[in-house]
């Protein structure tokens, strides 16, 4: 399973400080640590506080690529920030993210096409996050169909069923899991499914436990990728064990070690 490292985000104090002071060593360390822990893609988000978010994104992308060659997920709500990051990516990037909102979707599909990037689509639109599974899947299908019409391969479309915090929307986890299952049968080859895992535990006391169990349940439903913290060793152990139980790789006594070695 692909774990997209979530730690390079201006919402975290150390990253915010690094952006502000142009301290590359902090970003280098956060990037290297996530890759060493098993991330094979890193999310890059300048956060809400950056003064010049285009410049901050450019600086982050360049700085990260000085120490690692894993592909990047360029994370912003603003197309100019996304484009600034995409232009500098050496590997095929993931655009994070579009929604089903028509105007936004058109802009971001074009951006993905222009930059040969993959596209992450949230199953929500201008009206918000639908409660029902069919309504979420319908938005997922709209995103997929729009991307396909533009000539983007279906497996370059990463659909996110939208994870809400269990503390504030306890009834939303089950439909999220159902949505994952439904999204996987939309096309052949199937679109990838992805989620912002840490959202599930917002405001909870034992966030790590909630993240871990939510990830495993999502894997059982067919989740392919998660934007998460790879430095949470117990989370990674749980993810690997779930992959084992789902028969994704061959067992051996040192399977945790073997999985990490095979990454």
């Amino acid at each position: 399973m692909l774990i997209i490292g979530e730690r390079i985000n201006g919402m975290f104090k150390n990253v915010r400080k690094a952006i502000k002071t142009k301290d590359k060593s902090i970003i280098h360390e956060v990037a290297k640590k996530q890759v060493a822990a098993g991330s094979r893609m890193l999310d890059v988000n300048v956060g809400p506080a950056a003064a010049d978010d285009v410049a901050a994104m450019q600086w982050l992308v360049e700085t990260i690529q000085e120490v690692t060659d894993v592909p990047l997920s360029i994370d912003s709500a603003k197309p100019p920030v996304l484009e600034a990051g995409l232009k500098l990516c050496k590997k095929k990037a993931l655009i994070n993210s579009t929604t089903g909102e028509q105007a936004k979707l058109e802009v971001l599909v074009k951006l993905a096409k222009d930059h040969n990037a993959a596209l992450l689509g949230l199953c929500m639109d201008e009206k918000g996050i639908p409660n029902s599974v069919p309504a979420r899947v319908e938005i997922g299908m709209k995103i997929l169909a729009t991307a396909m019409e533009a000539g983007i391969p279906t497996d370059d479309v990463h659909l996110d069923p939208v994870v809400l915090p269990v503390k504030f929307g306890q009834d939303q986890i089950k439909p999220m899991l159902e949505t994952i299952k439904e999204l996987k049968i939309l096309s052949d080859p199937a679109p990838k499914t992805v989620c912002g895992l840490s959202n599930s535990s917002q405001g909870c006391v034992d966030r790590h436990l909630v993240n871990r169990i939510c990830l495993v349940m999502s894997q059982a439903a067919g989740l392919d990728e998660a934007i998460a913290d790879p430095n949470d060793k117990e989370l990674m152990d749980a993810m690997i064990t779930a992959e084992l139980l789902l028969n994704k790789f061959i067992y051996c006594d040192s399977y945790l070690d073997a999985y990490r070695k095979a990454l």
Binding site: F249, I250, C252, S254, A258, K261
Partner: protein, 322 residues
Amino acid sequence: MSVTKLLEKWSGQVTEITIGATSADGGTRSKAIKLGGETTMPFMLQEGAMPNKPVIAMEVLDTEPTWWPDTLKEPFSDALKDPAAWAKKCQDEYKADLICLKLWGAHPENKNISVDDTIKTIKAVKEAVGLPIMIWGSGNSEKDNQLFPACSQALAGEKALLGTAIQDNYKTLAATCLADGHNIIAESPLDINICKQLNILLSDMDMPPDRITIFPSTGAIGYGFEYAYSIMERTRLAALGGDKTMAYPMVAVISSEVWKTKEAKASTEEMPHWGPQKERGIAWEAATAVSFLLTGANLLIMYHPKSVALTRKYIDQLMKTS
């Protein structure tokens, strides 16, 4: 209407390993052999590459195989008494790709040949042939742990292939191979989980991935062949799917496995309805070898020159026509 062929796409690749060192690489072999490197299931050359064709090692014993049927003895005749002459015949007349010297007689329950005498044999074989060399231990862990360091030193610099390492006895051989620059054979008892575990244990000892081969245990057709076939197929599918801990070239023992079967050994008089023994044993060995090629074996260990020739012809055809 044109039909698009549905081709499999693989993300993984089998590790490429080199056996044998020429003078350019500090050894004395006349050539080096490469194994592995595939990015596809065997011979599916439209789906990926198979940069190195499978090779055949001809097996030479450290002891005269008096128990062999005459049909197998005949092509080697007197050379069977002398491992160096036997190896040379395999090289010069039967065009083996490499020589596998099996230390059968060193086993305490066989002839218990001493370490010193074994080394003499290894040195004689090394002098007699320029082909890359494999050494297959006696199968007795205690004796092998005495033999391996000495064998390894006798071949230092030659980039030989030594085996076998098993889950309960791999450290001596691995340390020895590391010290003298040899490749290793990791043996598992028809158990894919142990196969993977042993690969991890070897990598924990810092054995470089490009010096490991897998021997998953093999059996002749009719004698457990299917188990080995399915394990090897799963191993290769895992490798091509991206599991680097399973992505090693695979070794198949055809020789002794086939020639101990009744189908190869029984005389024409004993089994007249099975056809002439002279052809039957060769056919059984060639058919077993070819079947293992189809599940991804990279290195076949064989006895009879005629089965070797048939198998080689088959390899060449598949490499050309796929």
